[in-house]
Symmetry: none
C-alpha cells in the first residue's frame, strides 16, 4: 500500500469517527453532510472524495464501530478464566461501550431501514458474530455446569436488551457511577444463570 493510500484511509477513519457522533445524535436523515463536514473543518464537497455518497459514509460508520467492538469482545472470550468471570467482563465491556461510546454504540443496535439490503447484510452478519460471543460463553458455562440450563437465545436477548437500555437513562452527573452500574448489572444478570 502506498503512503498516499494510507493517508486516505486515515482520513477516512477520521471522518467516520466524527460522523458517528453526529449521525447518532440526529439520526440518518437528521444528520447533514454539511454538518459532518463542518465538524471536521472541511467542506461538503470534500466528503465526496472519500465516500461515494451519504449512504456509503453512514454505512461505513456502522462497519467501523462494529468491528472495533467485536475485536474487544473477542479478547475477553479467550482469557483463561472461569466462564462466570469472562461473562462478567463481557457485560462490563458492553456496558462501558453503551455508556462511554454511546454515539457509536447506537449504530450497532439499530441499523434500521436506513440501508439498502445489500449494505444491510454485512452489518447484520457482524451483529450475529457479536451476539455469538455471548452465546459461546453462556453455552460454555452451561456445559461446564457453572450456569444452570437456560434458553440460550432468550437469555442473551435479556442480557443485551437490558444493557442497551442503559444509555436511555444513564446520567454521569447524578446517581450511580459507571463502575457501580457495571457491578450491579453483572450481579443481577448473572442471577439469571444460577
Amino acid at each position: 500500500m502506498k503512503l498516499s493510500e494510507k493517508k486516505v484511509l486515515k482520513k477516512k477513519e477520521e471522518i467516520l469517527m466524527s460522523a458517528v457522533k453526529i449521525v447518532n445524535n440526529k439520526g440518518y436523515q437528521g444528520a447533514t453532510m454539511e454538518e459532518i463536514a463542518a465538524a471536521l473543518l472541511m467542506t461538503k464537497g470534500s466528503l465526496y472524495y472519500y465516500f461515494k455518497n451519504k449512504e456509503d459514509l453512514i454505512f461505513q460508520c456502522h462497519a467501523l464501530v462494529l468491528s472495533k467492538a467485536n475485536k474487544e469482545l473477542l479478547a475477553h472470550l479467550e482469557e483463561p478464566i472461569s466462564f462466570e468471570e469472562r461473562l462478567r467482563k463481557m457485560i462490563k465491556t458492553h456496558i462501558h461501550y453503551a455508556i462511554e461510546k454511546k454515539e457509536s454504540f447506537n449504530m450497532i443496535i439499530k441499523p434500521k431501514e436506513t440501508f439498502s439490503s445489500e449494505q444491510l447484510h454485512p452489518i447484520l452478519q457482524q451483529r450475529k458474530i457479536y451476539a455469538g460471543y455471548f452465546d459461546q460463553i453462556i453455552q460454555g458455562g452451561v456445559d461446564a455446569k457453572e450456569f444452570v440450563n437456560v434458553d440460550l437465545k432468550i437469555v442473551r436477548m435479556i442480557l443485551l436488551g437490558s444493557m442497551n437500555w442503559i444509555q436511555q437513562w444513564y446520567m454521569p452527573a447524578g446517581g450511580k457511577s459507571k463502575v457501580e452500574i457495571q457491578e450491579i448489572y453483572a450481579d443481577y444478570l448473572l442471577k439469571l444463570l444460577k
Copy 2:
C-alpha cells in the same frame, strides 16, 4: 362537548393512528406529511387543518400511544391478586405492546431530540408515570416479602430494557410465539426478584 368537536377529535385520532405507523417505519425526518396524508387519502393541506405543523402532529402521536398504554397498565395494577401475579400480568402486557403494537411502542421508548423541550416534558412525564406503575408493584412485593430486597430503579430498568429490546429481534414467523415469549420472559425476569 359539541358534536362537531367530537368529530374533529375522532378524525384527529384517525390521523394519528395512521401516522404512528409511518413515523415508526421512517422516523421523524423520514416520514413526510405528503405520505401521511396519502395513507389517509387526504391531501397535505388538510393535515394542517387538524395540526399546527409536523412537530405537533408527531408529538400528539406520542401522547396518544402513551396514554393508551398507561391506561391499560393501570388496570392490572389494581387487580386483587398477589404482587407476583400482578407483575407477571404487567410484564405480559408490556411485551404484548412491544410486539403487537411495535410501531406505536417505539414512540414511547425514544422521544429523542425530535421534540422541542416544551413538548418533550409532558412525554417524559407520562413515561415517568408508566415506570412508576412498575415501581409500585416491585416495592409492594418487597414490602410484602414476596420479593427479595432489590435496587428498585435498576431492576425496573432491567425489566423494561430487556422487554423493549424484544421488538428488535422478534419475528412472528419463525421461532417462539408471542405467548411463549411472554411466559419465558416473565419466568426469567421474576428470578431477579427471588
Copy 3:
C-alpha cells in the same frame, strides 16, 4: 330595497371597516382572509358570501374610504369663505385624515399594482376628483388674486405629498399635537401661494 338587502349592505360595510385596518398594517399580500374573518369573529368561508374574492374585498375597501374622504372635502369646497380660508380648512381636513384614519388613508394614496386594471380605473378616477377639489380652490384663489400665479399641478402635488408624508413620522405621544401640526403645515404651505 328590501330589509334583507340593507342588512347585507351593513354587514358588508362592517367587514370593510375592519378589513381596512388589517390590509393597511400588512399590505395586500400580507393580510389573509383568515385574519380578516377572525377580527370579525367570522370564518373565512363567510366572507365569500359577501365578496367574490379577496381582490374584490380589498377593492371595495379602497372605494369606501375614498368616497368618504371625497364627501367630506366637498363640503369645505362649498363654504362661503375666502379661498385661503377654504384651502386652510381642506389642508386641516386632509391632515386629520392622514393622522387619525391612517389605515384607511393609506389605501387612498397607494392603490399600486395590486389591482387588475379594470378595478384600478374607478379608483384612480376618484383620486382625480379628490385632487380636483384642491385644484379648484387653488385656481380660484389665483383668479381672485388671493394667491400668486403658480404651476397648479406642481403646487397641488407638493401640498398633498408633504401632507401624506406626515403619517410616516407622526407620533401622538411625543412632540407636536395634531392641531399644532395642522396649523404649522397650513402656514407653511400657504407660503407657497403668496
Copy 4:
C-alpha cells in the same frame, strides 16, 4: 480581504441590485425567491447560498440602497458653496433618486412592518442620518441668515414628503421633464425658507 470574499460580495451586490427592482414592483410578500432568482438566471437554491433567507436578502436590499444614497448626499453637503446652492443640489439629487431609482428609493422610504425589529433598527438609523444631512444645511442656512428662522423638523418633513411623493405621479412620457421638475421643486421649496 481575500479575492474569493470579494467575489462573493460582488455577486451579493449583483443579486441585491436585481432584487431591489422586483421587490419594489411587487412588495415584500409579492416578490418571490423564484422570481428574483430567475431574473438573474439562477435557481432558487443558489440564492440561499448567499443569503440566509428571504428576510435577510430583502433587509440587505434596504441597507445597500440607503448607504449609496447617503454617500451621494454627503458629497453635496461638503461642497464650498452657499447654503441655498447646496440645499438646491440636495433637493435635485433627492428628486433624481425618487424618479430615476424609483425602485431602490421606495425601499428607503418604507421599511414597514416587514422586518423584525432587530433588523429594522439599523435601517431607521440610516434614515436618521440621511434626514440629518438636510437638517444640517437648513440650520446652517438659518444661522448664516441665508434662510428665515423655521421649525427645522417640520420644514424638513415638508421637503422630503413632497419630493417622495413625486414618484407616485411622475410619468417620463407626458408632461414635464425630470430637469424641469427639479428646478420647479427647488424654487417652490426654497420659498419656504425665505
